[in-house]
């Protein structure tokens, strides 16, 4: 009976290991994609994602989008947007949006247990608020590029549902990425002739920096809408008191995303160092158990994710319209939102990594105890099981890696006629001719995900 226990425990440990075999980690799955993007080769990046999704064309969705494939589809959506393939990007964003929403709503206690016992990446993916809000924001941009105001307003409403949920149900502070989303939503409603709704969205955008250029639109809308707020009232008090005259002009919105948010990388640090860095995040019991482990040597490694450096921090995008420079205002620093969110959850992630380490140690102790205190086989089986579980403990490096690090905007009124714009960021550029007619509107964007 006593001899059966180590066998059972070893079987359990290796069985759990088998369950995790094949998970190379999200970071590894996207390495080729990131390398291609770094080289400015968006098409190669899409091919790399397609390979991971096991599809032979960017026009195809994977057969299974329920799990981590949803994040890859999201990655592909951003890159398609960078290639001005707005229709494909829109399709990918919507498929990923639904899949990520279903993951978010799923409730499975096994995920949490797996995350705390076997591997950080074994739980279901829960997108952080900025990712969910950016899905609707960037897809709104796709609809606006395609001049589909109805579709853009659907995305605006989806964004508002999430905003309300985060604010009212989870009592989270307003996320800065909402500034860009609200500005685009306001633009969609303004161009649809729905002044009240447009003003409400612009009011939300004005809560964040980078949207002072909305002044003219707000004044024009305020002349035919009743909605007022302290911010709107203050803005109306600052500038000219009359609404701008209607003239023979059209309006153009330029949106430039550049760089990429930091992705997650796997770290493997000795327990002693981790305790030095994060001891304050642990409960006294866990800290004591972890301290006992610190002397074990070979198998006392903690596996946890951290953020890699972002890309394109010091880059300034440019907009050249009919040969003259147009100033782009930074609308959102997504990179900062990612870091802020990470800071708030990093402690919990380290704790779960150390909890897994303690669980591995307990498995080893169990095997040793069952085999007998002085048993060499028991010691080897114990160390073997712990070492195997350590190797297979995959830090959760899943995230939407192709989110632009920053987004800048410019809004201009142009005289009727043919115009030419060049948007440039980090060596990627888009050149576009467009015709302005009286009262027309246009959105031209560039996502330089390098």
């Amino acid at each position: 009976m006593a001899a059966a226990l180590p066998r059972a425990l070893t079987a359990l440990a290796v069985g759990a290991s088998l369950w995790l075999v094949g998970c190379g980690g999200h970071e590894a799955r996207t390495l080729t994609m990131r390398t291609a993007l770094d080289a400015g080769n968006a098409k190669a990046a899409i091919a790399a994602v397609d390979e991971q999704l096991d599809v032979d064309s960017p026009k195809k969705l994977p057969a299974d989008i329920k799990g981590d494939n949803a994040i890859l589809v999201l990655d592909r959506a951003s890159i398609q947007q960078g290639l001005s393939e707005f229709s494909l990007s829109q399709r990918d964003f919507e498929a990923a949006d639904k899949a990520i929403d279903m993951l978010d709503l799923a409730h499975n206690a096994g995920d949490s247990i797996g995350e705390y016992v076997f591997s950080g990446s074994s739980g279901r993916y829960q997108a952080p608020p900025y990712e969910k809000l950016m899905i609707n924001t960037l897809n709104m941009l796709n609809y606006l590029e395609r001049r589909d105001l109805g579709g853009a307003k659907v995305e605006a409403r989806r964004l508002a549902v999430l905003q309300k949920y985060y604010r009212d149900k989870l009592e989270r502070p307003e996320n800065p990425v909402l500034g860009l989303g609200s500005m685009l939503a306001g633009f969609a409603y303004e161009q649809s002739g729905e002044a009240e709704e447009a003003l409400r969205y612009y009011d939300d955008a004005l809560a964040f920096t980078g949207f002072r250029a909305l002044g003219e639109s707000v004044r024009r809308l305020a002349a035919r809408a009743q909605y007022r707020s302290p911010r709107i009232t203050a803005l109306l008090g600052e500038g000219p008191h009359d609404a701008p005259a209607q003239d023979d002009t059209g309006e153009v919105l330029f949106v430039v995303g550049h760089g990429r948010v930091p992705h997650k990388v796997a770290n493997r640090l000795p327990i002693g160092l981790v305790l030095t860095l994060f001891a304050s995040s642990l409960s006294p019991g866990d800290r004591e158990a972890a301290n006992r482990l610190a002397a074990q040597g070979l198998v006392t490694w903690v596996n946890f994710p951290s953020l890699a450096p972002g890309r394109g921090k010091y880059e300034t995008p440019t907009c050249t319209l009919d040969g003259a420079a147009v100033t782009l205002d930074q609308a959102v620093d997504v990179d900062a939102a990612v870091r802020e969110e990470w800071k708030s959850i990093e402690g919990k992630i380290i704790v779960s990594a150390i909890t897994r380490l303690i669980a591995r140690f307990a498995v080893g102790q169990g095997i040793q105890a069952a085999a007998g205190k002085d048993s060499v086989v028991g010691l080897l089986a114990s160390l073997g099981a712990q070492a195997t579980l350590t190797v297979l403990d995959e830090p959760d490096t899943r995230s939407w890696e192709t989110l632009p690090a920053r987004v800048a905007v410019a809004r201009v009124r142009l005289p009727v006629g043919l115009h030419h714009v060049t948007l440039d960021a980090r060596g990627w550029n888009r050149q576009q001719d467009f015709t302005v007619t009286k009262g027309s509107w246009q959105v031209v964007s560039l996502m330089a995900l390098r």
Binding site: A11, L18, L105, H107, D148, V154, A160, L162, V377, T437
Partner: protein, 203 residues
């Protein structure tokens, strides 16, 4: 302690390994609705599906069949021209294609009823382009009456869908309010209107 006893724990895991290998690679099945009608009954998302559209239309068109405006149409000779314009989607779901399908079904029902002459939708698209201009050739609900007049339509059939979308930690619910209406072009009077409700949820 011999080699055999050292290897014994690893023999113990053999059944688990085989189970893992055999369970991987299970394929998905493609099913035809004609062979398995139950697949249409299952809700897959919070969007509108065939079942929702058919339920909503069944109720709505049964009401139109006995509405006074239908009797007016039956009495007119030649039958009046009717144009069908897109639904206004004011929900948080991309359901435009399903709303088009709904109008398509309503159009078929009207054509088969023989009480009206339905103006083709291609002609309507051309008219929208003429009214809105090439640059902004998108349907504008505010100009519906203008399109109708230019098309020579006496009546318009259109609709709107509003939605209430709410979510909690583990559930999302969308309530749809669908309105179908008949508008007299000359007077802009709503001659008939019917509402139906559809609720979908993920929980």
């Amino acid at each position: 302690m011999n080699v055999r006893s050292l290897l014994r724990p690893f023999f113990a895991i053999l059944p688990l390994s085989l189970l893992a290998l055999t369970s991987s690679g299970c394929g998905q099945e493609v099913v035809r609705g004609a062979n398995d009608p139950s697949i249409d009954g299952k809700a897959m998302s919070t969007g509108l599906d065939k079942e929702d559209i058919q339920r909503a239309l069944h109720e709505t068109l049964n009401n139109l069949r006995i509405a006074p405006v239908m009797n007016e149409w039956r009495a007119q000779n030649p039958p009046p021209n009717v144009a069908i314009f897109p639904f206004q989607n004011s929900t948080s779901e991309h359901i435009d294609s399903m709303l088009d399908a709904m109008l398509g079904e309503a159009e078929t029902w009207l054509v088969e009823s023989g009480t009206v002459q339905v103006i083709s939708r291609e002609r309507q698209t051309q008219m929208i382009r003429e009214v809105e201009g090439q640059q902004n050739a998108v349907f504008n609900p505010a100009n519906t009456a203008k399109y109708g007049r230019q098309l020579g339509a006496k009546y318009l059939i259109t609709g709107k869908v509003s939605g209430n979308d709410e979510r909690t930690d583990d559930a999302r619910r969308v309530q749809y309010f669908l309105f179908l209406q008949v508008i007299e072009v000359e007077t802009s009077v709503i001659k008939w209107q019917r509402k139906t409700y559809v609720t979908k949820a993920v929980r």
